[in-house]
Symmetry: C4
Subunit: 480 residues, 4 copies
């Protein structure tokens, strides 16, 4: 059925809400309440073309998967639709012009020597909102920054006169071979970084022999990502935000298992979204920039305007079950899948012990990249405490950490303390933002080089040569 832009425009309320995406019209009225990102973010496009906003978040296939066929109302006439919101017509904001200029100026990829170099480029070429989304942390960003700084409190005790001409940085994660002890963590909204979104991670991981962990709401569908693997043997892991409805959650997990995902990382540190102010403020700041510093129109100062707090992250707040428990959730998950189960988001020694008692296959010591509770401890500190107080846990399950890893030496510190591997999230998104797939590969190669150099200088020819005695926590340094 062919529809006109005027027809669509009349369905612009909560009672009847139509959207245009890619010149097709959808009735999303009944879906409003179910939208993981909330009702409001959809309603702002009610009766309009939502293509740009939609594409920056979701795979197109989601509309087919989640919306019944009778809600697919038909297509719209090209000429009418275009003016309503097609990208080509959008007046460029200052930020858009800044990004265009920075993209032209960026240095060649072969000048990238470290993850910091790549992050610097990404910070320049990313649109403000995307940058704010990636970079934001909870509250004042204390945990965000401590994640990085904490590594600087661990110094090495390198050993000399050991044979290191042959040095092998490979290991396994849950039985799957990886060329270096690093996996790609899911950081969300990968299309904000690059049009190919998560697929660039899949391909890069395949090329370099490392493993990608895919989120619950990636930028392409789980099937598309699975299909992007270089070989069917290339392992993928699934990071699970468990739906409060066990049936929905069960279907989701089993579908992933069928698609070939090899492990479930159950997220436990995000029953509610953290308070990410940088992210929330980004649109205000962009708006102010456009006004060129002109004051806002006058207002009644004593009356609160009724705020639309949110930010990109809020538009994406997950349908995560806030009532998961050790007693119920772990056995349930074990009952619906044969995949190894990893609990992601452990933040203290006591819960690591509980995880071992619960018989899970692994844990990720993580504070969610400093995006959830501010003043949650950096995972390298929690790892250190676990090593000191409950070394037996490392015998019972595989321990991973994420958050703040930037250098090969960071990886090596974690491995010395007993981690099996470390996850990196933001750095890969920055690499994708700056140089796409080539950037992700470049970053993996940089990490590999740094890890191998570090192992040799530590006197370790194999990953198993890395021991707790090789690191010490010092009182004397904090990276500034």
């Amino acid at each position: 059925m062919a529809l006109t832009i005027e027809q669509v425009a009349q369905h612009n309320t909560q009672s009847s809400c139509w959207l245009i995406v890619k010149r097709r019209v959808y009735d999303v009225t009944s879906f409003l309440a179910e939208h993981p990102g909330g009702t409001k973010v959809i309603l702002q496009f009610a009766g309009k073309d939502a293509t740009t906003a939609y594409e920056s978040i979701h795979p197109l296939s989601f509309l087919d998967e989640y919306l019944s066929k009778d809600k697919h109302l038909g297509s719209i006439d090209l000429d009418d639709s275009a003016p309503a919101g097609a990208d080509g017509q959008v007046k460029k904001t200052k930020d858009m012009r800044r990004v265009e200029l920075e993209r032209k100026r960026k240095p060649p990829i072969n000048r990238m020597l470290s993850s910091a170099d790549i992050e610097d480029v990404a910070m320049r070429v990313l649109p403000r909102k995307a940058r704010s989304y990636y970079a934001s942390g909870g509250d004042d960003g204390i945990s965000l920054r401590e994640n990085v700084r904490a590594f600087s409190r661990f110094f090495f005790k390198p050993r000399v006169l050991r044979k290191v001409s042959q040095c092998d940085p490979s290991t396994t994660i849950l039985g799957h071979k990886t060329s270096i002890p690093v996996y790609i963590s899911f950081a969300g909204l990968a299309k904000l970084a690059h049009p190919n979104g998560d697929l660039n991670f899949t391909r890069s991981a395949g090329q370099t022999g490392i493993i990608q962990m895919v989120g619950t709401n990636p930028s392409f569908s789980h099937a598309e990502i699975a299909a992007a693997r270089l070989t069917p043997q290339q392992p993928l892991f699934l990071q699970l935000y468990k739906n409060p409805d066990n049936e929905i959650a069960k279907r989701f997990v089993q579908r992933a298992e069928q698609l070939g995902y090899k492990a479930i990382f159950l997220t436990v540190d995000a029953p509610v979204l953290g308070n990410r102010e940088t992210d929330i403020k980004a649109p205000f700041e962009e708006e102010d920039e456009e006004r060129e510093g002109e004051p806002l129109p006058p207002q009644d100062e004593e009356v609160e305007a009724g705020g639309s707090e949110g930010g990109v992250a809020s538009a994406f707040s997950k349908q995560d079950d806030a009532d998961k428990t050790w007693e119920e959730t772990i056995p349930w998950l074990r009952s619906i899948t044969k995949l190894p189960i990893v609990v992601k988001g452990i933040q203290c020694v006591e819960d690591a012990v509980l995880a071992a008692e619960a018989g899970v296959d692994g844990i990720v010591l993580s504070n969610h990249g400093g995006r959830q509770l501010d003043y949650a401890p950096p995972s390298i500190e929690t790892l250190h405490q676990l090593r000191l107080r409950h070394p037996e846990v490392f015998e019972k399950l595989e321990v991973f950490i994420d958050g703040g890893v930037r250098r090969g030496t960071d990886v090596l510190k974690a491995l010395c303390l007993g981690a099996k591997a470390v996850g990196m999230g933001r750095p890969f998104n920055y690499a994708n933002s700056a140089y796409g797939e080539a950037g992700v590969v470049k970053l993996i190669r940089i990490m590999e080089r740094e890890i191998v150099t570090g192992m040799r200088l530590l006197g370790a020819a194999r990953v198993s040569d890395l021991t707790p005695e090789m690191v010490m926590r010092v009182d004397f340094y904090s990276k500034l």
Copy 2:
């Protein structure tokens, strides 16, 4: 009796001192010696119109309460009085013009995401002297800043896989229900922030279900504040500076009890006023600004001019009994009131133990917002020491802390360590300064949201789920 401006002008000495307030003339000669703020601050208006200065500090009703009727000399002719000092005629200083401009430019209240955002606005819209009064600390401001920084040395150990979909941040203070574990501390001179002064706190507390503590010298009378409550059940607490004269003190306490105040917070950390240099310097700086950097007139450098040190706080130094003791004061206070007694200003574990032995109902660990003795310890540190060394004290009385609380996480750290609730003073004055009553409500809502989010991310569904094991004091961080 109608008086002329010339008649009043003749009574401009310590022997005969008349003032005009709101076009009425008062003979305050006999009151000079009793004035809590000292003689000098009154004498500068002897024979003149003191309306502006008076109104910025005192409730009008005080003149009726404290000055006998025969000292009310009559009214003054409007035309004569106005030129002598009415506000409309005052030449605007640079600072006044700055404030006017900043008030126009301030962001809408719905952009306020945190107490820091609100403080930023307040710092811009407050007159210099008011800002200096609120922001000042003792000596070099070490305790002032440490109050805030100290919280950053306490990190969380969040627990996962606990049911937190239902989360209740309410608790009780001395038996009175409060929607969140925060009460409004008295910070003084609230009219400098907003014409409605303390009344805005009363109304906001009523709306949001929290409790206000009112000072000994509020900007409206204790009766006016009691009358501003939304319901007669809304609790108010009284912060007491005990007069050296027991009879005066007794009448004051019993009057408050009759007015419906529900607890006495006896101030013990201010037998003399701290050395608040920022406050004292503010008028000099304003004067310099007016002169536009022109040097002061020449002077005989070797001879001290005889300084009038003071500042806003000095004009208000209290008639506080410097000889209070555990042995005499507490039993005396118990003997004159049935209200619960809380000792406010405990700064070490030893005195907390003495308080428990003295049988008081509560203590506030406080260094008076860093305004008294510099290098007094931040109260979160004292709380931590009390938890470690004398946990039994928490069973014997209610422990509160104040000073440096800015975030929901600060509140939660205190509660984990055993505090029943925390007081916030400056932040509420800043909210009042920036947005009046709406600002105070906004800040309470922000705190509530941060507390609830934090509880969920800690794995706590109720305030009683917050335990000492959930926080750790770290060696590795100080907020910069």
Copy 3:
């Protein structure tokens, strides 16, 4: 005998060296080798008028005391002498003009609220060389700055509900009453600060009831200083740099005893002068400033010019016996004087114990204001260690400290830990530089006010109420 300027000019070598001081001619050839400040500093004036340089260091009476009458060659004709070097003819350097301007601009003394305020003024009004001399420390100034910062690691544990309306800060030092537990340390070269030099300290101490310690080479003679006392009872102490020649040293000590000095502070931390680079560099910098940044004339870069390292301090390096010992020097000193003996410059607990064993009457824990060995410990830290490890020492002798004291709270921390009193040196020189005698009195009054306020807020009505339990060394703060 009347001499001409031409005659004098011929005696400009080490073999025959004449100087003009105050229009009188002296033959100092035989004195060259004995000059405590070295030969070079005199030779630069050989055959010339040295009045200005001489007066900025020495009392005029020294020429009479140290140079036999036959070396007083006579006076010089006024007209001839003046052009050769009288002040009026000196072309003003940039620094002189800067100082003149700053002196006109300085704020009135009644704006001075703290020692820091006074130091700020002094830093502006002092000539560069004088400022460099006063402010300089050894090597990199680590001990210099740590002296101040160290106090910030000691926090209070104030006690409440104690009677403090009556508060008495007076105490005794070696049996002599002092109005506050502070004495004036000798910092040297007081005439650089003010023409009245040390005499301003004598008069101010007399006025305020505190005690002055006078150095071995003060700016006025020991007799002149003794004569400047307000009453014969006003105590003075002597800081002794012991001459290597016991006979000279003996005469010096006994003369002071006859003049009425009441104690000997034997300096033990300066067998050689510390490396004060700021001081040495000051003349270079001034020279560069005069050249307005023009490069120095070309030079042969590979050949060292043969440096005249020095600085103001070097011109004054003392004839101090570098071979003093506990075994020989203390008994010897005891044998030649009945005055109490205080060892000044103790820097570790072990030497404090040795001092007690040696039976001296007191010790000053001091690192010489950070001017000698860099990385010598701040005295408040040494005091703290002494309290922890050898509290019995405080029973055997009086313990003083100096270095870094700026606030009343600093004084109170030292007293809590067991010090009998504290010395302040630089701050008094700064006060003298900025406002002369009135400035010194002002600083004493400021200290008194801060000490009394601090005692009251600590819950101490007398100096003896200050106890070790009232301070704690913290890990959490360093003043920035």
Copy 4:
């Protein structure tokens, strides 16, 4: 044989590679694979004049030593060669012009009061690439900076009333007398600092009575350096990078022994080169500077250009045996030489103990100047740990440290803790850069003066008076 520039130009590939050095032509084709600095760095000069690049690294004699006579093809005509690459013809870069200007402006040597003063001059007068080489550290430069900062955590406990008028700072190293407990460490590429390169160290060491350690690849041949000694008795030490080929290594060591070198310092902390990004980036930055900020030409952003990572250090990466072991290498070395063996690059207490067990004559606690593994511990900290945990090691061998030594007090701290002497590398290169041989002598004199002053102020008349009790590790300071 006379060759033309055109003939040489044809041999510009890996298959046939000719170079011109000093107007002589060499066929280095067969040597390409053996070049310690790698093939690429030579190939960029294939068929061209490599004089400038060659001379900045190697002694001329190396071509005679390492290249058989039949590869010396003959000389080239002067007129033809000059235009191809002689220095006089090179267009000056901005950096060259900056250096010329700075060299004219530099202060006279007698203004140099400390090693920091000299370093400041060197930083200004050095070409960018040389500066980057000298100053660079591994990764983020944490160990680089900690090497310096670590000393600031050690404070002194000076002793007083000890005889120090006679003070002797001399000691022995491996039985050889040295005037102060400092030796010259090898820092590489000394010709970048001064045309006389390492020879300036040899002559300065001879003049001042200290000892030079010469590297494996110095800027002049080992024979030339030996010949530059002031007397045949002047000791030299050899720092050995052991060739993987034992025969080559043996010949090298034995040749040095014959030349009169007195000890072998076996390098063990550099089996691979550290990641020195500053060094690698220097040429990029210079290139950017030349382009005056113009953007690089456009490029396909998704394709990596295939990087030529490297830097000056990379051009010099050593043929170091990465499979050395305690079990094999030490006995082998002992078997081929009678010289004392020192293991250089020990970074933990455990390896110091192994060294003692292996019977070597000495160890250097060193992290290679922070140029190898980042987060390797500063050697003063390792020394402190060794003193605390294995004091018996100091009885079995001589312990040296290097890295971060800048002041006499740094040397004294190390000696107090048990070091026999300390090595200084960069500071001597900076002295050579700034003032050549005179600069090196100046620095040694500065160190001597600081050491003697420090010893006297510590109460130590001889090196053996320096004891562990004289230093303490503090928690309270880090140099900023």
